[in-house]
């Protein structure tokens, strides 16, 4: 067995693999967050609650209606997206011209309310959600046992990130969206309905969170507090990547996952703080974030 810095390559590879899988969650989550911030100028603190709702609705579909994992992967984000539509139309759109703080306060309050309702109804221990039959078992990679489901999580997240990137960078709708972000007045003058695009962006971002929630359901217990644990890291990822930078959010998401994996090898106690340490350093030497533009 080859040793690197006194750590066997077997352990090194397996920890990095796990880090990459955790990074997949961070990337999907922070992608939605960055998208919303870039277009709406809103720091969506409800993101963790919407991730939780994604997992919970998947569980509810199974528990009450007998609808399994695969349909839930589409249905659950659609339902959470619909709730996002209501939030944007009813509440958020009044805040675009105000300071960031108002959006932050509103979304933070919303997340407390949503999580409180679920906690009151379902407690905190969580509901069991089985791994779908197709993805049970795992592969022996030689250096580790990789559950099939985790491999699927990685593939699905990368796929979703690529799809979103393609939608924004390579389609007509995406180019209008980017234009509207730069100069909404001008784009409106061309007869493009900017408010509708903004609503759809929020719905899209929220759906990404819910999608990550469904992916997480079979790994973690589906519980009212599952979003609370992930949201600080996701915010740190967005800050490191550069607020509003979609590409930055994805790359940083995976990088932070890897970094956590490596930290667990060297000094496990610091695994949860390493990302914030990096965030502080980035804020000092490059306040706009690794991939951010200076005017943010």
């Amino acid at each position: 067995m080859v040793e690197v810095f006194g750590i066997s390559s077997q352990i090194l590879f397996s920890q990095l693999m796990l880090g990459l899988i955790n990074g997949a969650f961070y990337a999907t989550m922070s992608l939605g967050l960055a998208l919303i911030f870039g277009v709406l100028n809103i720091i969506n603190f409800t993101h963790g609650a919407q991730y939780m709702m994604g997992g919970f609705i998947a569980w509810m579909l199974l528990h009450y209606l007998g609808i399994g994992y695969w349909p839930a992967l589409i249905l659950s984000p659609a339902i959470v997206g619909a709730s996002g539509f209501v939030i944007e139309r009813l509440l958020l759109r009044h805040l675009y011209r105000l300071d960031h703080l108002y959006g932050l306060l509103l979304t933070f309050a919303l997340s407390l309310v949503i999580e409180g309702v679920f906690r009151d109804r379902y407690g905190v221990s969580g509901q069991p959600y089985e791994i779908p039959e197709l993805l049970q078992g795992g592969f022996n990679l030689g250096f580790m046992f990789l559950p099939k489901y985790r491999a699927w999580v990685l593939a699905a997240s990368v796929g979703m990130c690529l799809l979103t990137w393609w939608g924004i960078e390579r389609t007509r709708l995406g180019s209008r969206l980017r234009a509207a972000t730069e100069n909404p007045m001008l784009v409106r003058a061309f007869g493009i309905r900017v408010p509708r695009m903004i609503t759809m962006t929020y719905v899209g971002g929220v759906m990404l969170a819910a999608f990550a929630g469904v992916l997480a359901a079979p790994i973690y217990q589906v519980s009212s507090i599952m979003g609370v644990n992930i949201i600080p890291v996701v915010f740190a990822v967005v800050v490191i990547g550069g607020l509003g930078s979609i590409f930055g959010a994805v790359i940083t998401g995976f990088a932070v996952g890897l970094l956590e994996g490596a930290t667990k090898l060297i000094y496990p106690q610091a695994a949860n703080t390493a990302v914030f340490f990096i965030m502080i350093i980035i804020l000092i030497i490059r306040p706009q974030g690794l991939f951010g533009k200076r005017n943010y």
Partner: protein, 404 residues
Amino acid sequence: MTNSKCYMGCAVLLATMFLNCTAVAAQEGVKIGVMNDQSSIYADLSGLGGVEAARMAIEDFGGKVLGQPIQFISADHQNKPDVAANLANRWYDAENVDVIVDVPNSAAVLAVQEIARQKKKLVLVSTGGTSEFTGAKCSPYGAQWTYDTYALAAGTARALVQDKGLNWYFITADYAFGQALQRDTTKFVTEAGGKVVGFSTHPFPNQDFSSYLLSAAGSKADIVALANAGGDTINAIKQAREFNLFKQGGQRLAALLMFISDVNSLGLNTAQGIVLTTGFYWDLNDETRAWSKRFFERRKVMPTMTHAGVYSSVMHYLKAVQAAGTKDPLTVMQKMRDTPINDMFAKNGHLRVDGRMVHDMYLVQVKTPAESKYPWDYYKVLRTIPGDQAFRPLKEGGCPLVAN
């Protein structure tokens, strides 16, 4: 205009807060405060269930002691030791709380123990598990009712080492409770002829356990022991199944602290076969069943051992106040030590000078789905561990109150 409205609102709010405070201070009866985690990972095993159990005890006692109505408050310490300390200071000083009950999270428990000592008021712990509480940090004002890390270690470690579980690997929550549990368990494992081959510490709370589980699998240990609790234990067990820890390496999982709420959350399919030590099980006898069914009607879940412990401790406290004819803390505590505890929770239990309530513990195994015949039929009792074997002998804890 908006500003003045806001000021008005704030003023009204403040005024009502003061009104509440004065209303409370005017009365002089016994005041019981349940402090626990009502919003974070221990909210199901303690939380509002603990609040309800204390309420049941007060109701069953008749609602009055020393001719005065029993007052009751509760609060969420959010699993944060600093919040717990602030609450304890305020309750003892400003709100005239006589006794703080339940208190999960060992770090919070040790903080409240010190404050109770300074303020000369009582604390009756049910959920907090560190054995330090009755060891070096013991106090004449503190009692620990339901279990401690020593009892968990003694019950589970002895049984598993005897059953060919010689090599142990720990996955430990990185705070007072996890450390105490690992230390106490290590002692029993080595004494029984086993050895500890490694450990990982994880931040508290934590969600992803995959990397710790992989290290555990790589260690080739016979037993992978979880020195954590609540949501952490649940996620670790669930992911251990996912990573095939048991089939691949032939390893066995020991959840050193597991509550019936955790088993209920995981489902028997995932939790089956796990051996654990508990201070109470709802389905032990007619008395436990009768009480637990009353609890169930109120909370729609069966009680955990710490819920039952809260009830027992509050009941015993109220009886002692009544018998002593005073609420003076040291007099009441002496009365509590002098009187044996006989209720649905404990038979011939007794409270020691170091604050340890000694009672029988139970070594149980989680049933398979096929063995479970009715809702919440989760455990089969393997063995009753008599109190004097379950808990640390009085002289070994290093409590300064114990005369040599």
